[in-house]
């Protein structure tokens, strides 16, 4: 890991297009300003960790039949599925 000492108001530049500026340090917290091209996503690391874990869990999940059945029921209730054929008429 590259370690650089910066004070409030100072910046680092990553790869010509990304600039990270230390705006303020206060009580153990650091406020950062980040300028990056819109294509570059900037997220808090712990949020990304949560999403990564959720993706992994979903990939390993078992797609339970019961969950699918209940979703199917929901779908039918919303009318996106053709109504069931009427049964034979009782005489």
């Amino acid at each position: 890991m590259l370690v650089i000492k910066r004070k409030a108001g100072e910046s680092v530049i990553i790869g010509n297009q990304i600039r990270i500026t230390v705006l303020e340090t206060h009580g153990g917290a650091v406020r950062l300003g980040i300028e990056a091209p819109p294509k570059v996503s900037v997220y808090r690391a712990e949020v990304v960790s949560d999403v990564e874990a959720a993706n992994r869990a979903a990939a390993e999940g078992e797609a339970s039949r019961e969950a699918l059945t209940r979703l199917g029921g929901k779908r039918a209730a919303k009318g996106t599925q053709p109504a069931p054929e009427p049964g034979p008429e009782e005489s």
Partner: protein, 146 residues
């Protein structure tokens, strides 16, 4: 072309059916090509199957099926990353975790997957300020089954 999936068997596909995720999915940066597989008996769940690692599959679902009010702001970053036209349509999926106990099944509303159908380019985004979580109960608010 085809891949062999342990879940769905042989999946034949044309190159122009492949969804391209230049950044991969979060946690899976190396997986950049996916097939969208919708076996009839899994409806309305579909699966994103990585072409380069077909033993995996990500169950996905339209968030609007379970949360019609789902609020999805699509910013400039996403428009540019997906090369989305101003009036272009957008496909939205959320990853579902379908647990063996149905009450525990969840949907990741925090990090939806967006796909531009015109160029098949996709990206998973994180709606950091949305208040949604990665594990919203799939069946929250449903009446108890009779």
């Amino acid at each position: 072309m085809h891949i062999e999936s342990p879940h769905f068997g042989k999946l034949a596909f044309d190159p122009d059916q492949v969804l391209e995720f230049p950044e991969g999915l979060l946690g899976f940066p190396a997986l950049s090509r996916f097939l969208r597989v919708g076996p009839e008996d899994y409806e309305p769940i579909e699966f994103l199957v990585p072409v380069d690692e077909p033993k995996l599959r990500f169950p996905v679902l339209s968030p609007y099926l379970v949360r019609p009010e789902y609020d999805l702001p699509v910013g400039m970053a996403e428009r540019e990353a997906l090369d989305l036209a101003e009036d272009g349509s957008l496909m939205v999926f959320c990853v579902a975790n379908l647990t063996s106990r149905v009450e525990d099944a969840t949907l990741n509303l925090l990090a939806p997957i967006l796909v531009n159908p015109d160029n098949r380019r996709g990206r998973q985004v994180v709606l950091e300020t949305s208040g949604y979580s990665v594990a919203e109960p799939l069946f929250a608010g449903d009446p108890k089954p009779a």
